[in-house]
Subunit: 102 residues, 2 copies
DNA sequence: TTATAATATCAAATAATATTGATATGACGA
DNA sequence: TCGTCATATCAATATTATTTGATATTATAA
């Protein structure tokens, strides 16, 4: 897998995105907070609630996160569930390690 | 040591800075390219030459790199030599690893 | 179908970063 | 000291990213 280290870095550099990633991390395999449904995973509305952000802002950041490969989308019905893609973080780290011979 | 992961990410996210870091990496313990002197390390002028950048631009990016802790300065006479601080990269990686339980 | 809820997109405003050229500072050596 | 070279800083501008509110999609349920 090809990793663009500066691109992943850019995505990680936004505090909100970083916090969203941590949230996804901590909800691995847990129930959605989403009030209306008890499905697996974290959806847009969970993130809006958690951080008090408006919808389009969350949407923007989730696009950054998914298009970088840090997060995977799982659409279910009209919802979209997001799951952290640890593999990308691992590959990013691997890339840094090899670039900087750590 | 305290690592601000989003801050390090921001610094790493600029392609020029990333390339400068790689350059420092690859010149660990080698002679300066600096034409006038054969001292250890990489100085401002080496970076200017290598990437064809003007002085103030290099200065700006080196400040970003040093103030984040990714690079150490070693002033010698009127020159400033820069050395990669692998420790910071390592700590950054460690932080990611612990945040994302890798 | 139609209504509604969730998410996406868009254009405009704002904010943050990067770049440049000019000038300043600081360290030498003559 | 004075002149020169290396680096730093500054103000202006350019570029890029983020935020917002409005509108568009899309899925589903009634």
């Amino acid at each position: 897998m090809i990793i663009d280290a500066t691109n992943i870095s850019k995505v990680l550099s936004d505090p909100i995105r970083y916090k969203i990633l941590l949230m996804l991390m901590n909800h691995q395999g847990m129930e959605s907070l989403c009030l209306s449904f008890g499905s697996e995973g974290v959806c847009n509305c969970d993130i809006m609630q958690e951080f008090g952000l408006i919808q389009s802002r969350v949407s923007y950041h989730m696009k950054e996160l998914t298009s970088s490969g840090l997060v995977r989308e799982e659409p279910k019905g009209k919802w979209k569930y997001y799951v952290l893609n640890k593999e990308t973080v691992r590959n990013y780290i691997k890339q840094l390690g090899s670039d900087f011979k750590l």
